[in-house]
Point group: C2
Chain length 540, copies 2
């Protein structure tokens, strides 16, 4: 302790007061104006609990200077107490009432304690770290990102949604990005380049060495959602005419096999695919057996242009862990592993659910408000068209509405019941189409069944709604008009739910995306026009 700077009594008092009220921000504001010596002195005057709390408010930058000035036992205690084990326990906990990693990181950042925030990231696996990073507002995200080392950044980068990955990659210098990219598997690198805007992506590609650049260019030539887009080229291939013993010796030379190696690929002299040799078979074979005799030649390879949906279905149907990818003429190009397939299944399902609300699953949850507004307005605009379509139908019946106000009160009921009934059929058919369980082969049976359900439910709810309407408005006529309209709308809704996805697909539009909006337009138009039309005919 080289100098003694007495801390003004009022500073001490205000700290104590802020602590008593739990106002940590004020504590930090006060601390910011103190010198290291003043802070050290202040710390020593506090009781143990207070010491720890105040210590947690001190930024990484100031820490060393203050530690030096502190009583050594106190310094040690503060450093030991702070974090690590406690942090690990917090992150491992599955208890939902505990403080979440998001809250831990954000509080740490707010307190200027970057070390603690970074420690959270260090304790997580890359994909978890990516998820956490996406959960932070952009400012905090960048400040963490700029402090991660390149190797770690690379691993995290491939797990981020495209938009987030692109924006964070662009925050890095060319050298950092190249360093991060160097750590990646080829398939991940391909994904990264595809996520980047054209310029920086090309830049990154060009900064690779010639061999890697050639491999990357090959892999980039396949569509992202094809087997070629999912494959990696880290497979190990052996020839059919060697002995198991030689294969084992060769593997021992490699020391470490690529992740997810459950089988070796067997190829001929021209690198044409012959079959696979499973490790589980390899370890149960005798050293003098030939690969040809223990390999599985029946195991079918995947065509490089096969769609990723089809790849996923094959993996699921055949319970595969990895599969070979071959060119049209049977040359082995690479392999696909189940972990990438699993990601692709998850992505597809997320895309479907987000797509139904007109959202992009690769978008950043914290994209700038203006960007998000613009994106979401597209879907609202489509909806407005269908809404005005419905309004114009209602507009045709202004005469009826003027005379019988009950029509205006009840008409949304007719439209909404149709919407729900239709969406049930729609959902069933969309799933059936996706699974290949609905096609022209059984469409008529399904149509019959759905019409039956539509009619039965139509009658059931027509009776109920009619009864309520009659009681409510004391008018028999309105009862049977609304009942009939509901029956008509439910039958039409079921029909629309069945046909819309088929028609959309014929036009190359994904029924999961546009289906429900088109359906809603149909059920609104049919619902309003049948109800108001019948009322005009019979009640006026």
């Amino acid at each position: 302790m080289t100098e003694e700077t007495p801390v003004a009594a009022e500073t001490q008092e205000s700290i104590a007061e802020a602590l008593a009220k739990g106002k940590l921000k004020r504590v930090r504001r006060i601390l910011r104006d103190l010198s290291a010596a003043e802070t050290a002195e202040l710390l020593e005057q506090l009781d143990e609990d207070q010491q720890q709390i105040v210590w947690d408010q001190i930024g990484d930058v100031e820490e060393p200077a203050i530690l030096e000035l502190l009583d050594p036992t106190l310094a040690e205690r503060l450093q030991v107490n702070s974090d690590d084990n406690q942090l690990e326990a917090l992150l491992d906990s599955e208890d939902e009432t505990d403080i979440s990693p998001i809250a831990i990181v954000r509080e740490a950042l707010e307190a200027g304690r970057f070390k603690r925030a970074l420690k959270v990231f260090a304790l997580l696996h890359p994909s978890q770290a990516a998820g956490l990073l996406e959960s932070l507002p952009p400012g905090e995200r960048s400040s963490i990102w700029s402090r991660l080392d390149s190797a770690r950044a690379g691993q995290i980068l491939v797990h981020l949604r495209e938009e987030v990955a692109a924006s964070l990659a662009l925050e890095m210098s060319d050298a950092e990005l190249l360093e991060a990219a160097r750590q990646l598997d080829l398939d991940d690198l391909v994904d990264l380049i595809q996520a980047l805007p054209f310029g920086p992506g090309r830049q990154l590609l060009l900064s690779m060495d010639v061999k890697k650049r050639q491999q990357l260019a090959d892999m980039l030539s396949y569509p992202e959602d094809s087997a070629g887009g999912l494959m990696n080229i880290d497979h190990i291939s052996v020839r059919a005419d060697v002995k198991v013993g030689s294969v084992l010796r060769y593997l021992r030379l490699l020391e470490d096999l690529p992740d997810h190696t459950d089988k070796l690929m067997v190829v001929d002299r021209e690198n044409r695919y012959q079959g696979v040799l499973r490790l589980s078979r390899l370890v149960t074979s005798m050293a003098d057996e030939l690969v040809r005799d223990v390999m599985d030649a029946e195991f079918k390879p995947l065509d490089v242009l096969m769609s990723s949906q089809e790849v996923a279905r094959q993996f699921e149907d055949l319970d595969m862990l990895s599969a070979a990818v071959v060119s049209e003429d049977g040359v082995l190009l690479g392999r696909i592993t189940v972990d990438d397939v699993m990601d692709s299944i998850r992505d597809d399902s997320e895309r479907a659910i987000m797509g139904m609300a007109g959202l992009d699953d690769e978008a950043d949850m914290f994209a700038p408000i203006l960007t998000s507004t613009r994106r979401r307005s597209v879907w609202l605009g489509c909806n407005l068209i269908t809404a005005f379509l419905a309004a114009s139908v209602i507009g045709q019946f202004q005469g009826a509405l003027e005379q019988i106000v009950a029509l205006a009160v009840l008409m949304p009921v007719v439209a909404s019941m149709g919407g729900i009934a239709g969406s049930q059929t729609l959902t069933l058919v969309i799933r059936g189409l996706a699974l290949g369980q609905v096609d022209t082969g059984n469409l008529r049976v399904l149509l019959g069944k759905e019409l039956g359900i539509g009619t039965l439910n139509g009658v059931l709810w027509a009776l109920l709604v009619a009864t309520v309407a009659i009681i409510w408005f004391g008018d028999l006529g309105i009862g049977w008009v609304i009942g009939l309209a509901i029956l008509i709308n439910l039958v039409c809704a079921v029909l629309a739910g069945l046909l819309i996805p088929l028609i959309l697909r014929r036009f190359g539009i994904d029924p999961a995306l546009a289906g429900s909006m088109v359906l809603m337009a149909v059920t609104d138009v049919v619902g309003f026009s049948s109800f108001l039309g019948l009322a005009t005919l019979f009640l006026i």
Copy 2:
């Protein structure tokens, strides 16, 4: 050819005519009335193409008798041509314009050609066969099912949706079901027993031998959606103090390893989990190394009571192929393989999408109409309540509606715009909650952002809709009333989209299921009441 029965000229003519018109049903009807000898003679009089077509219309039962009477070369040609290769090519084809397996099977069944239909099933993998079986109407499904052998039936059974599996299992005799069950892995058997109604399930359990029954009872004691429910007990465990060479010798004795064995489990004397020994490490290790030195002791086991969602997330995050399952005190109970995890991910995503429309993903697409009607009516009933809620809100403003009919025309626009804007936020928040990317740690940031988007979009669409309304009805007042109502509804919708899932979750209700219906109620009520309320205040 023992007898010559001249085929009547008119029969020949009508066959030729039916063939020319492509009316195969009529061909079959005519053939049914012919004797074997007449059919044989008829066949010999046709040209090659026609022969094949007519031959394909002949049922399995009649085939042998007719073949005997035919010219041997013709008989051979007909048998070679018929099916197999062509069938395989058809099934392999990815061309959507080709005839689908569903259509092939149904046509074959209709033509009474069971052999052909069964051949399709024989060419498919069990899970594909299960999908195809589900795509058939119940009658055809049963007739195929009764002709499958027990081993095959067992494999298919575990891939069927619960309802279909249960109904087909009940069609089998006890002996057949037991025979089919004998082929199954324990985890699949557990699933089957859980899918069966209590009586037959218990019956099946009791007919197993003592050891298996005990194992099954153990596994059945874990919740279906827990690690225990996903695990199998076919793992291979070794001790840490043996040499790699001994392990390899032991594996060779086993000859065949269980499917998806990528690692062996290392346990101590009390069967407590110590770590894993990867096959990829095993094959690269020297024979005299100890398991202890090459095993991965850091690889964390899964707790038997961990939820299946959490299991899936761990598999995805850590890219695992299999993982050990341990009891609370660390005893190794079994292992979970990635194929079961993948199924569980797919099931979850299907359940979510179907659930949003109030459908059960395990239900039979071709369940009896009455059953389906009853199930779907639940969702329609819930919707009716919200629809009447909206109607009652409108009912409060009958006075305004009587005076200004334009209100009735435009009010659905206000409600529907709110519904869409709200569902976008709702979808985003539900995903965020599921991924753990939204919690109290970042809720306020998200709230700010969503409110910003809601306000911006509100202003945008308010202006547009107001303009259209003013032009349509030539009234300034209605323009600014609808504009203001849309702004209010969009902001409320965004708020509701954010809060509803949080509130539902607090009450233990899955927001993915009930969220959109609750949201719709809110946006309808707010939309109608703000629009009609403002109109009452300012326009009347």
